[in-house]
């Protein structure tokens, strides 16, 4: 079987298994009356305030966006690692080294700038 078929079949098996487990609980579990107090969100016994607009620090978004940027840069190092040895055996070792070195310098500069500008500071 081709790998993609296997991936699809395995995903379907796992999802079916999960759905069966979830269905099982609602089928064989005891049924009692669902009172309002029971369905309330867990809050250590207190009443849940009606409006729950919570302010979230912008830090979380900042971290996520910076993650995307660095993630893309790291993804590019994978093909580089794949062919690095091939280039060296062909005698073009310095070429492939410096092509990534320039990229890495930019990457490290970015990281240092983030650290220096306190963008990664959590208090």
């Amino acid at each position: 079987m081709s790998p993609l078929v296997s991936i699809v079949v395995l995903s379907v098996i796992v999802l079916t298994f999960g759905a069966l487990l979830v269905a099982l609980t609602s089928l064989i579990g005891p049924k009692t009356e669902q009172s309002k107090a029971k369905q309330m969100a867990y809050e250590c016994g207190l009443n849940v305030p009606e409006s729950e607009v919570s302010k979230v620090p912008v830090k979380f978004y900042l971290t996520a966006i910076l993650f995307i940027l660095f993630d893309i840069e790291i993804i590019f190092m994978y093909p580089w690692a794949l062919v690095y040895k091939d280039f060296i055996t062909e005698g073009k070792g310095l070429y492939i080294f410096f092509s990534m070195a320039v990229f890495l310098v930019i990457f490290v500069f970015g990281l240092l700038w983030e650290i220096k500008s306190n963008a990664l500071e959590w208090e």
Partner: protein, 380 residues
Amino acid sequence: MNQDAFVVTVNLIKMAVIFLLMVQLVPILVWVERRGSAFIQNRFGPNRVGPLGLLQLLADAVKFAFKEEFTPGKGHKAFFYMAPIIALLPGVLAFGSIPLSIPFTLSGDGYSHTFATQVFDLGIGIVFVLGVSSLAAYALLLAGWGSANKFSLFGALRASAQMISYELALGLSLVGILLCFGTFNFSEMIAAQEVPLTFFLFGKEYTFLSFLPAWGIFYQPLGALLFFVSVFAETNRLPFDLPEAEAELVAGYHTEYGGLKMLMFYIGEYGHMMVASALMATFYFGGYTFPGLTVVGVQEFFSGTLQIESANLISIFTMLVFHVVLMTKILIFLWIFVWVRWTLPRFRYDQLMDLGWKTMLPWAIFNTVLTAVFLLLRGV
């Protein structure tokens, strides 16, 4: 036609066995975790049900199934149900791409098929595993948001922010070992680690201590350490279990869950640990190989010493021997997961983020540059 059906059947059986292997390991791991923590803290732990308390988890699973169904009133029902199902998927898919042993051959009159001992053999192995694991964040976010509970939402938020921060260090720590191997494929990596260890000193290659295999850990000690620390954060285990810090967040993203749905999150979490341990073994500790244990040697042991006639049986038994080797390595790493959990205290959130971005990431870059320079000087 019959042959195709045969191949498909064997593949399906293989798939089911690997999936069940993973699901079955979870109760055993939970038992190890509870007994291990009891051992470390000088307690007894579960020891009543069955020998050594081994049946405790079976009893727990049955109990889980008979728990009352509960859904939070304000939550989004669809997301609430979907989250545990999705939590199962990344771990299983990633585990399916890791070779668990050598390939085995089934032959008869007029046919002979070789099957890899993984669900799918991908040329891009590790990149696939990283991609699939990054999808795990959805299960947490869906659980957190679907519960309509502050604790759940903040647990999910913290968990996903932490996972993505350490994914960088995780991805970058592997670049060094990939530079050494020059391949993404797990089987090729393991094959590269079978040869004796060689060192490169002053322009010459030396092979000393020739009983040592060329395991990745000897070439990439720093990379291995960084990788191992980041997988602790990826799996949300102590000392990085901020998403579930019970003093602050009750139980994190699964506060509102109970019964089998809770168990499914456990399967997902332990599945991640298994994948991490298997990757650790494959990258840095030679996978299913062990010095002195050769395929021919094991086959001769079965055919010569044990007088087994059938070629199919010999092939399957040989495969199982190598599988046991890998499983032993995986279990050792899983024990380290448990050991660390009951030894180290928890980080503070700012310390956690500082460690990920300002310590691990720069060291991973340093490791990459160091490896590249070494390979360049060595000329291979």
